[in-house]
């Protein structure tokens, strides 16, 4: 595919007896929102971990933006424009919301071997933090340490940090988890807006959101991609219904 931003070829990853990725191939086109769904333990998070470099695959190949990144360390991939959010909230508890986001911004402003100037008064960083904070609706909590945020607020921050660095691709691992019903609606709005700016790979169990947002969907079962296609195709796929969706077919397209 010519306009493929991220291309994964026959990835394999095994944890002892568990084959978490089995000959997994995946193409994410530039600008699309690609959803990755599948039962619990199917290997979605493991796939994301391999994409962003936290786990190294046993075999296979990953190409991002024309470069082979299969064995590249995680921070290099992030610098190339790959950002992720974690399924299990992973923010800096002792730092405030603002500082959390500043760090995310800083990561993309060249190196941080600057020992003298106050980070907080760095206009470049400051200017980027405000919109990031606004996007996830945390302005009113700017100076609260992340530890005192509620679970849902932490989830918002989690997504905010992934966004702050203006990445080329966003790997979102269950961003809806923990968002209240209201938050979910807002998050959907946010992702809809983001779709126009950035390529997104979305792992999610909220089928309403997935079918509303995704351009294409890949279904993973036992580490293997069993189907890939438009939401319409996936919804009709008998295998997918049996393995994953059950009768919970989203009513609204």
């Amino acid at each position: 595919m010519a306009d493929s931003l991220l291309s994964v070829q026959s990835l394999n990853k095994r944890f002892g007896a568990v084959q978490a990725s089995r000959d997994l191939s995946l193409e994410v086109a530039r600008g699309e929102l690609h959803a990755l769904i599948g039962p619990n333990g199917a290997g979605k998070t493991t796939a994301i971990n391999q994409l962003c470099g936290e786990t190294l695959p046993d075999s296979g190949q990953i190409v991002f933006d024309g470069r082979r990144i299969t064995r590249m360390p995680a921070y290099r991939r992030a610098q190339l424009g790959m950002a992720r959010s974690y399924q299990i909230t992973s923010v800096f508890d002792q730092l405030t919301v603002r500082e959390n986001l500043s760090l995310a911004v800083q990561a993309h402003h060249g190196h941080s071997f600057r020992f003298w100037r106050k980070a907080g008064s760095d206009p470049a960083v400051r200017q980027a933090v405000l919109p990031a904070m606004a996007r996830v609706d945390l302005e009113s909590r700017a100076d609260v340490p992340a530890a005192s945020l509620s679970h849902g607020e932490k989830r918002q921050l989690e997504v905010g940090m992934a966004l702050a660095g203006r990445p080329k691709i966003l790997l979102l691992d269950e961003p809806y988890a923990g968002m209240g019903p209201g938050g979910a609606v807002e998050l959907t709005r946010l992702i809809q807006r983001l779709k126009t700016e950035v390529t997104i790979l979305l792992v999610e169990h909220d089928m309403g959101a997935v079918f509303r947002l995704a351009d294409r969907i890949t279904v993973l079962v036992y580490g293997q991609a069993i189907a890939s296609g438009t939401p319409g195709e996936i919804r009709e796929d008998a295998q997918v219904r049996k393995a994953y969706l059950g009768d919970e077919t989203p009513v609204r397209p």
């Binding site: 619990n40 679970h151 849902g152 169990h205 059950g246």
Partner: protein, 233 residues
Amino acid sequence: MLEVDQIETVYGKSQVLFGVSMTVREGEVVTLLGRNGMGKSTTVRSIMGLTPIRRGRIVFDGRAIDRLPAYAIARLGIGLVPEGRQIFPNLTVRENMVATAANRQNAKSPYTLDDVLSIFPRLADRLNHYGNQLSGGEQQMLAVVRALMTNPRLLILDEATEGLAPLVRKEIWQALAMLKANGHAILVIDKNLDALMKLAERHCIMENGRVVWRGNSVELAGDDALRARYLGV
């Protein structure tokens, strides 16, 4: 069975609950609803004795429990599925299940390992994995199982379906319905309004540390403005 009366709770200097009251009766399913950060989980933590309350009273089965340590409250028969899973990372799946298992209320047919594994077969072939090696969803299942294995009379679920695949989520709702049918009381926090309205008879909506609305499923379903105002849907 459970009576929460005007409780106030603080974290350090910031007050989070401002006089929350609610009740759960024998065999009843009650929900706590509200946007993020409104104090639902804090209410649960207060009930469990994980965060001490500053004012108010909590009574379980006619006994004041608001000064008891968490383990004593749990032993009275309250089971918790906490927010964010909180499984024991350094125990295997099997150990997670049996380490705290108990039948203190002498339930006639206590849960056994086989029972819970039949609800979540996915866990069966993970028994010797450590908690931190599980996928997010698997951890969530484990958290539910762990609470069930204490054979509680009141089960508290704080976002227990977070991160579960649709099929599994359905399983959980079915399991809860079954529990309810067996006379268990349940206090549940979840974002799946549709499922909640089917399962629960009474709902409490919280905002900024207060319960601002109480009612039954019919009332909640019928009031779009209410849902839009407090839940954002």
